[in-house]
């Protein structure tokens, strides 16, 4: 008994308990990161293409994604096979009981085609068909010819993209006039003059874009030329235009560096590419960009506002009922569910503020909204409001940590209150302010719910920052990693195929937040070292 009492008095038990709590926390965080890194890391690595012969004699070709216990028979297992070929069979995945399998093989001539549309195709190359005839897969020239055609197709696709952009740019005056006409018609105003101008603009657009359109037609014709005929495991044949192939990979013959090269190129496509197939394939560049820009705009909005609020509360306002009420309100603000901020952002920023801006500055295109609809500006401001308490509290702590002796020193040298604040107190409180910014960034980068009401979209036609003046388009809708994760993971028509993309996106989001935090923490520590110096 006394032993136990001594044990408790010395704090040994408490120490072990504390250690256990730390371990649990670390295990959970570590586990989360490990799962994400594991799934995301393996996703882009080439898998062998397996041809399965079933007991009924039919054959299936695909990638083995998982081997798992069969819920129907307790002792049996089943495999999850990605069979792709959605244009032929409509299902992307098949679950095959182990008992149904007669034979498994890894055919050397099986290819994986990653395509612009309809997802992956698994099969065996048969022949290339071009205008001049066809080339059998067994021909020694086959691979080179396919490579050459793919290179040519990519060049043409790039040209198509440039042509489309050029044509699109010519369309801006017409689009503007069409909006004006629509607005005038709604208001019942005479539109004859506008319509004349519209017709003239359309004529001008046609003239200006005629050469580009002509070239575009030629490019598209050229793109339609050349198809790769593939055979499936069941023996069907399918002709696939070379231009729609992103990658043709003979996965089973890849070795070493080639595998690594494919892995890296797939990651690069994911990070720097545009999304395809309602986001379940391709890249997430617009989402990464949208997230980073949104966090940046939010920080630019929240830090000055939070710092000024904290300075007023801490330096100017007389301590009393008012300051206590403000602090209480801020503390409660921090506890409000984020969806409520989203609703507020929608009602106040989007409808009230945005609507007023539209009526004042964009009235001629109404009812088409410009700022009166969700956009990156309103989303950023909503999140700024959400993270305001964090910044205020951290800044106040930073200000309270400034020694009275240093303030007195500045006053005694003849500095006014403002000069003391500006030249001594604020520099001294910078680490605290940066702490607030770091916490705000960490919080803001992870929020999704308020964004869904204030401007995030599944697929944005254009990024909020581009080469078209005024370059930063604050009224545009944007894509966001958090929303991408929710959308692809839970709203996608092809959840199973998109799942690893979700893990990869989570990994990217984690890395993005860690990088943003590390940058701010490094900056803060450097300042802190400078401020603390050696002790007095």
């Amino acid at each position: 008994m006394s032993l136990v009492r001594r044990w408790l008095a010395e704090g040994t038990a408490q120490r072990w308990l504390a250690g256990a709590c730390v371990m649990i926390a670390l295990t959970m965080i570590g586990g989360l990161v490990a799962v994400v890194v594991d799934v995301a890391g393996r996703f882009f690595w080439p898998r062998p293409l397996v041809e399965v012969t079933l007991t009924d004699g039919s054959k299936v070709l695909g990638e083995v994604w998982d081997r798992e216990p069969d819920p129907a028979s307790p002792s049996g297992t089943r495999i999850r096979l990605k069979v792709g070929n959605r244009d032929l069979s409509a299902v992307d995945f098949r679950w095959i009981r182990h008992s149904e399998i007669r034979q498994e093989s890894v055919p050397a001539d099986a290819w994986l085609l990653e395509r612009q549309e309809n997802g992956n195709f698994y099969g065996f190359p048969r022949r290339l068909e071009v205008e001049s005839g066809s080339l059998a897969a067994a021909d020694p020239q086959f691979r080179q010819t396919l490579q050459r055609m793919a290179t040519e197709a990519h060049r043409l696709l790039e040209e198509e993209r440039i042509l489309l952009r050029r044509v699109g740019r010519q369309h801006a005056p017409v689009a503007k006039l069409m909006a004006l006409v629509a607005g005038a018609q709604r208001r019942g105003v005479d539109t004859r003059e506008l319509e004349t101008r519209l017709a003239a603009a359309q004529a001008r657009e046609d003239d200006a874009t005629r050469p580009a359109m002509k070239r575009l037609v030629a490019v598209r014709e050229a793109l339609a030329q050349g198809t790769l005929v593939m055979g499936t495991a069941e023996g069907q044949e399918k002709a696939i235009p070379v231009a729609t192939i992103v990658r043709a990979v003979p996965e089973n013959t890849l070795r070493g560096w080639k595998k690594l090269g494919l892995y890296i190129s797939r990651w690069w496509e994911f990070l720097a590419g545009q999304p395809r197939e309602s986001n379940t394939e391709g890249g997430i560049l617009p989402a990464i960009f949208g997230t980073a820009l949104m966090v940046l705009l939010m920080t630019v909005a929240v830090v000055p506002l939070g710092v000024v609020t904290a300075v007023y509360l801490n330096e100017y306002a007389r301590e009393g009922t008012f300051t206590n009420a403000v602090r209480l309100a801020l503390a409660n603000l921090a506890g409000v569910p984020s969806i409520v901020f989203g609703a507020f952002g929608l009602a106040f920023f989007v409808y009230t503020l945005g609507g007023s801006i539209d009526r004042l500055f964009f009235a001629d295109v109404l009812p088409t909204p410009t700022f009166g609809t969700g956009g990156i500006l309103w989303a950023s401001l909503t999140l700024a409001l959400l993270t305001l308490p964090v910044v205020v509290v951290a800044t106040e702590e930073g200000l309270q940590a400034v020694p009275q002796a240093v303030r007195d020193g500045a006053r005694a040298l003849g500095a006014t209150r403002w000069q003391t604040l500006r030249r001594v107190v604020l520099p001294y409180a910078t680490p605290g302010i940066l702490t607030g910014a770091i916490l705000a960034v960490a919080r803001g980068a992870g929020e999704v719910a308020p964004l869904m009401l204030t401007g995030v979209v599944k697929l944005a036609p254009s990024m909020p920052f581009d080469g078209i003046p005024p370059f930063l388009h604050l009224d545009r809708k944007f894509m966001h990693l958090g929303f991408y994760i929710y959308d692809v993971g839970f709203q996608s028509p092809n959840v199973e195929a998109g799942k690893p993309m979700v893990y990869a996106a989570v990994l990217v989001l984690l890395v993005l937040v860690v990088v943003l935090n590390l940058a701010a923490i490094t900056l803060r520590n450097r300042l802190r070292r400078k401020l603390r110096g050696s002790a007095v």
């Binding site: 020694p403 007195d408 005694a412 003849g414 500095a415 001594v424 520099p427 401020l531």
Partner: protein, 254 residues
């Protein structure tokens, strides 16, 4: 001492906070050259008196004052004399070194920059002169861009003196400047103070009677908010007129 020409004068100064009178009618004069020490037990009003001369008490809650405070013959509380201008004239150094988290250079030039000096050659001259007068120049001349917080406590305190000197004040107030320093740094600081006092008036608050004896030309003994005795330091320590002074300087109380 005659009133004319004195650097600092108070006449019947009553001052305190809220309902407590800390100073109960103090009349004292500080000559324009030399060190004047203020001694007395804790809570006797030394610091409050010192802070009346540059009006630092004004920032404390509930401060009140009656009676005259003259700085170089002019009323320190004259509303037409801006607080900031007064403080350019009356420098102050605090108990603990309080350098700003800036470079040595920017610490020293803080006052001149506030006063609107912007020509770099003038600033450079002020920098060198202030650091030299504070006897710090040789130690920091190669590290003027380094953060002031990287230096030792004694160096920081002399930097604070240099900072106070940069506005070329006629008077420097020192509020127990050696209380946070070790004996060697204290000795160095006292030497600096003695040198300084050849040109300007120094008012030194100290609870260390040996220090007053070593440094001060004149000493004033304050007790419970009243000035008990004021005179030449040697005379005050060797042959005090008042019994209370004798008891205090011989260490019988305080």
């Amino acid at each position: 001492m005659s009133g004319a020409g004195a650097a600092l004068v108070t006449r019947n100064l009553v001052a305190g906070f809220e309902n407590t009178e800390v100073l109960k009618g103090v009349t004292v004069e500080v000559p324009p050259r030399g060190v004047t020490a203020l001694i007395g037990p804790s809570g006797c009003g030394k610091s409050t008196l010192l802070r009346c001369f540059n009006r630092m008490n004004d920032h404390l809650p509930g401060f009140f004052r009656r009676g005259e405070v003259l700085v170089e013959g002019r009323d320190a509380y004259d509303p037409s004399w801006p607080l900031e201008a007064l403080r350019f004239q009356v420098g102050m150094v605090f108990q603990k070194p309080n350098p700003f988290p800036l470079s040595v250079r920017e610490n020293v030039l803080f006052g001149p920059r506030l006063a609107g000096v912007s020509k770099s050659d003038i600033l450079e001259e002020i920098l060198v002169r202030s650091l030299t007068r504070a006897q710090l120049w040789d130690e920091v001349k190669d590290r003027l861009g380094a953060s002031a917080l990287e230096f030792s406590g004694g160096q920081q305190q002399r930097l604070c003196i240099a900072r106070a000197l940069a506005s070329a004040p006629g008077i420097v107030l020192l509020d127990e400047p050696a209380s946070a320093l070790d004996p060697i740094a204290t000795a160095k600081l006292e030497e600096t103070i003695r040198e300084l006092a050849q040109e300007i008036a120094v008012l030194l608050v100290t609870h260390n009677m040996q220090q007053a004896a070593r440094v001060a030309h004149r000493t004033a003994f304050l007790y419970l908010g009243r000035l008990v005795e004021e005179g030449e330091t040697t005379q005050l320590f060797a042959a005090p007129r008042e019994k209370l002074t004798e008891e205090y300087v011989t260490g019988r109380f305080g």
